[in-house]
């Protein structure tokens, strides 16, 4: 199951690359068929009603088409990149707020130390390792991770929902992210 999902997601990365390079509409249709319903599911989890979720899911995939040349397969999987697109649209639309983001072209930006040449291979391995590490998380840590990504709520509200002190929620999040990081050899 995990393996199937994983190989499918790798195929999605290829589709995005094709879209950026060839403006390939068939590739877009395949990407849409796979991700639009997932993005819609994500937006509904975030509290959007069906109509809004539908509209934003379409908008997210259209944004992916427009901005495909900014997708860097060495830095993120297709799913991760589309998540960030959907997240930003959600903040603009549902919260009527802005999403402040750094700009790598900014002269004040402090760049990464030089990347290793096999970054693309690493990105792929990273996905598998993250999936495995997530599957191995203790349930209590997996729960706070899921809630923190899918509910548009401050950690304080998540703590209330779970009937836990805020400090416990924060430390579970911290522990979970450390386990995931250490699985990546960081």
């Amino acid at each position: 199951m995990t393996l199937v999902a994983s190989s499918q997601a790798i195929a999605m990365t290829d589709l995005l690359v094709k879209i950026a390079r060839d403006r390939d509409k068939q590739a877009f249709a395949a990407l849409f068929a796979y991700y639009a319903p997932r993005v819609k599911g994500y937006l509904i989890r975030q509290g959007a009603d069906d109509g809004t979720a539908e509209e934003l899911a379409q908008e997210a995939l259209l944004t992916a088409w427009r901005k495909a040349d900014r997708f860097d397969p060495a830095k993120a999987s297709a799913g991760t990149w589309i998540f960030t697109v959907a997240r930003n649209l959600r903040i603009d639309a549902l919260r009527k707020g802005r999403r402040p983001e750094f700009d790598p072209e900014d002269p004040a930006f402090v760049p990464d130390p030089a990347e290793s040449p096999d970054a693309a291979i690493q990105a792929d391995q990273t996905r598998v390792r993250i999936r495995n590490a997530m599957a191995d998380l203790p349930e209590e840590q997996a729960t706070v991770i899921r809630l923190s990504f899918f509910e548009d709520k401050p950690h304080g509200e998540i703590a209330e929902q779970l009937g836990l002190p805020l400090g416990t929620v924060k430390s579970r999040l911290r522990l979970a992210m450390r386990r995931i990081k250490s699985s990546l050899g960081d």
């Binding site: 539908e54 379409q58 900014r70 990149w81 998540f83 903040i91 707020g97 950690h155």
Partner: protein, 216 residues
């Protein structure tokens, strides 16, 4: 040069999830512009979110959704990479410049006591305040505690408190547990970005440089 005091991990995570309030998000994103390590952590958190989204139960769109998206493709302009606004003084990284109308001189500075100026930048819908604080060289701030969270990030110059020495890009996080007395470095003014998420409580009788932030 890289920062040595980083935001708490749960803030990075909330930023990646998109659930962090806007004022704190500006501060985190500005730190990320200066800190490859934290960018890495946010990238990992986003990768986790991406995998979680892969596993969500898909919710089907209505039958005509794909067709209407395809019909819109040619109308959709290809996004042109944004030309970075010129960093006139090199002190303010993006996205902070967007909130200061480009340059420091555009900030609306207010005197807040001896050697201390504050310029409010925005208050987000949750009531969190973002502002700039300029403290003259060597100025010592009265000891104070906090009833809620305060995030301070150095943009230029530096200061020291009980928690260490803070330079460009460094973040000090203070909550109700923390009482501190920051002192600006002797060699020049210290410019900070500050997020206040609740009223400050002075533990000294003298008004602090942060106390007046309450008045906004």
């Amino acid at each position: 040069m890289s920062a040595s005091h980083h935001p708490p991990e749960d803030l990075l995570l909330a930023y990646a999830a998109g659930s962090l309030d806007e004022a704190s998000s500006v501060l985190v994103a500005t730190h990320l512009a200066l800190c490859p390590n934290c960018r890495h952590d946010v990238m990992h958190a986003e990768a986790v979110a991406g995998e979680l989204m892969e596993d969500l139960v898909p919710v089907q769109l209505n039958g005509a959704a794909l067709e209407s998206a395809l019909a819109n493709l040619d109308a959709a302009p290809v996004a042109v990479s944004r030309v970075a606004a010129k960093a006139v003084d090199g002190v303010l990284p993006q996205p902070l410049r967007d909130y200061v109308s480009g340059e420091l001189v555009n900030a609306k500075w207010q005197w807040k006591g001896f050697g201390v100026q504050y310029a409010p930048l925005m208050t987000d819908p949750s009531g969190n305040k973002l502002g700039l604080l300029r403290v003259a060289a060597g100025v010592r701030v009265p000891h104070h505690g906090h009833s809620d969270d305060e995030l301070t990030m150095v943009l230029s110059g530096g200061y020291s408190s009980e928690l260490g020495a803070f330079a460009r890009g460094d973040i000090e996080f203070a909550d109700e547990e923390v009482k501190h007395q920051p002192v600006a470095d002797e060699d020049g003014p210290c410019l900070c970005l500050v997020v206040t998420r609740g009223p400050l409580k002075p533990t000294a009788i003298v008004a602090s440089w942060l106390m007046p932030l309450l008045a906004f």
